[in-house]
């Protein structure tokens, strides 16, 4: 045994309290897993959509997503979003959790994209707010317009895009939050989604948790051997190396996960423990969803004629 291994350990100098890149990364991984399980917990709540047959729910919510894509008038899109919020409440999903899940990332990202569309540069029209007038502004080789204003038409375009994305994402998240994963896969097969597509989804969902656990272990192992403050550059180097190691591990892991599924009879066909029979609540929900969709489309047509 080497002599250094027998020497008494010197207490390390205390490091800073600032969370490192790695700390945030590990926290992010844990948060992802928590969110996934929170979704499963929400799907077990005794709410309205949780009681609906997964096949009916899949078709109706996808139908509502399609309606969100095709209607163009702001009141129609707002009505769809309002309907989604009513469903969130009736399905007993905490509104705050839903908002974080459905409206934080995608709609905010969309907002960033549609910002230029609000200006006269992209969407000409009546000026709502003038940002600058008769000025020569250049950013490097690019010259900005001499006059730039936020236009009424631009705001309407941006609002339309935001409402459309928010409504579509809301219906999709509602489907995910109110349907157990296995039921969702089985419903996809029931509506004739190709077996290979469902199979890839099933494997990916199972595999992502194994991979996340491995990633968390790597990060924790590194943190347990890190004393004091580590530079952000070093953290990033480690993250790069860890990503490479994970990639190597991933094949062996995917084979294990797949083997475990195949060994228990999985042949690409997802099955659910629940027996699905259409009940009055399914028919009631389907009728309601269709009525809402029809009403929204009618409103859109009427508003189009008025305009």
């Amino acid at each position: 045994m080497p002599a250094w291994l027998l020497e008494p350990q010197v207490a390390p100098r205390a490091g800073g309290t600032r969370r490192s890149f790695l700390g945030r990364f590990a926290g992010g991984l844990g948060h992802f897993v928590e969110r996934a399980f929170a979704a499963d917990a929400a799907s077990a709540q005794p709410g309205l959509l949780q009681r609906v047959d997964p096949r009916v729910k899949l078709l109706t919510l996808l139908g509502l997503v399609l309606v969100s894509v095709f209607v163009t008038r702001l009141p129609s899109l707002a009505a769809l979003l309002a309907f989604a919020i009513v469903l969130v409440v009736l399905s007993r999903i905490p509104l705050r959790r839903f908002a974080v899940r459905a409206w934080l990332v995608v709609p905010l990202f969309t907002a960033a994209i549609v910002l230029p569309a609000m200006t006269s540069w992209v969407t000409p029209g009546d000026a709502l707010v003038t940002l600058w007038r008769d000025q020569r502004i250049a950013i490097g080789p690019w010259h900005l317009p001499q006059t730039l204003a936020i236009t009424t038409a631009g705001v309407a375009t941006a609002a339309r895009m935001l409402l459309r994305v928010s409504a579509a994402v809301s219906f999709s998240v509602l489907l995910a939050l109110t349907t157990r994963w296995n039921d969702l896969l089985a419903a996809l097969r029931a509506v004739r989604v190709p077996r290979l597509f469902v199979f890839v989804l099933a494997i990916a969902y199972r595999y992502v948790f194994v991979l996340l656990r491995a990633a968390q272990d790597l990060v924790l192992a590194r943190r347990s051997r890190t004393v004091g403050r580590v530079s952000a550059a070093e953290d990033r180097r480690f993250a790069g190396a860890a990503a490479g190691a994970l990639f190597g591990k991933s094949q062996a892991m995917s084979e294990e996960v797949y083997g475990a599924m195949v060994a228990r009879g999985y042949v690409g066909e997802a099955r659910s423990l629940d027996r699905w029979r259409l009940r009055p609540i399914d028919l009631g929900w389907a009728m309601t969803a269709m009525l809402v969709a029809a009403a929204v489309i009618a409103l859109d047509i009427v508003l189009g004629r008025v305009a």
Binding site: L6, F37, G259
Partner: protein, 304 residues
């Protein structure tokens, strides 16, 4: 043990090589009889897990032939859904890593997964899930996510997920790995009950403790991935040379005063050796301990 003329598994010169040229098994031949308890012994990396995967129809040998229940176990055969279901109903495998096996939203779903995908009637699936939950004392965990369970609980759920299929043949890859002593004892008792119920049990392990309680016969894989020996557990355990060569026991060195003393050392309990020769301490008195060479290693005979 009720031996019949048709073995459950019959392997002839089975070899397996991974794509990048790494050999896992070389010309492995043996049979497993119905109702038998067989231990696959070997050091880490000797090919035990690969052998189990081949027997479970999860990997196809790159050489030789394997038959299960009297019919060739070919990859083509398992592509047929009916044949695959028939085989999976009869053969269950509990993986070493429970994490790879448990990723449905709840423990209940996990236990139902096998029977459900093997197309058992729904009522039977529900009844089996409840019975298995009760038998393994998992009732309280039924709605929990397997991800959040302790290591021992995960192992129990992994086992429950296979038991609910009620296979004739149960295969375990290092079943005691990571279990606390109480859970290990529980597992031993469960294995005894399953064997009593007529199940064929195949266990891959590198540990010799409790071997006499879990297997009647053992196959030892050498470190060159060939079969070093097949025979009754007691006979194999008595062959110290064989166990040393297969890296299942090691030369254990410790100190008597300042004198280095070594003897073969494995983790074999008295019951395992009931019918064989216990491993004697072979007193090879070595050189006195040099000064300042660190503290003597205690002669700790607890499990690794």
């Amino acid at each position: 043990m009720t031996a019949t003329s048709t073995p459950v598994f019959d392997l002839r010169e089975v070899s397996f090589e991974y794509g990048h040229g790494v050999v896992a098994l070389r010309a492995v031949s043996f049979s497993v009889q119905r109702g038998e308890r067989l231990a696959l012994l070997g050091a880490n990396g000797s090919g035990k897990s690969t052998l189990l995967k081949i027997m479970a129809g999860l990997a196809a040998p790159t050489g030789g032939a394997i038959s299960a229940f009297g019919a060739p176990l070919a990859a083509d055969l398992l592509r047929d859904t009916a044949a695959a279901h028939e085989f999976r109903r009869r053969v269950g495998i509990v993986f070493q890593s429970a994490d790879a096996q448990l990723f449905t939203p709840t423990v209940r779903d996990e236990i139902a997964f096998g029977p459900l995908h093997l197309e058992l009637p729904r009522d039977q699936v529900l009844a089996r899930v409840e019975d298995t939950l009760r038998m393994l004392g998992l009732d309280d965990l039924a709605e929990r996510a397997p991800y959040n369970l302790s290591g021992g609980e995960k192992k129990k759920v992994a086992l429950a997920a296979v038991l609910s299929i009620n296979p004739e043949v149960l295969m375990f890859d290092e079943p005691a790995a990571g279990l606390d002593p109480r859970t290990q004892q529980w597992l031993l008792e469960l294995l005894a009950r399953l064997h009593g119920a007529g199940k064929t049990i195949i266990i891959a392990t590198h540990r010799l403790d409790e071997l006499g309680r879990i297997a009647d016969r053992a196959l030892i894989l050498a470190e060159d991935h060939t079969v070093a020996a097949v025979g009754p557990v007691a006979e194999l355990l008595a062959d110290r040379g064989l166990l040393l060569a297969a890296n299942l026991i090691h030369e254990h060195a410790h100190y008597h005063g300042e004198v280095l003393h070594s003897h073969p050392h494995g983790h074999v309990d008295d019951e395992a050796l009931e019918h064989g020769e216990p491993l004697p301490h072979e007193h090879d008195h070595g050189a006195p301990v040099p000064e300042g060479n660190g503290a003597p290693v205690p002669d700790d005979h607890s499990g690794l």
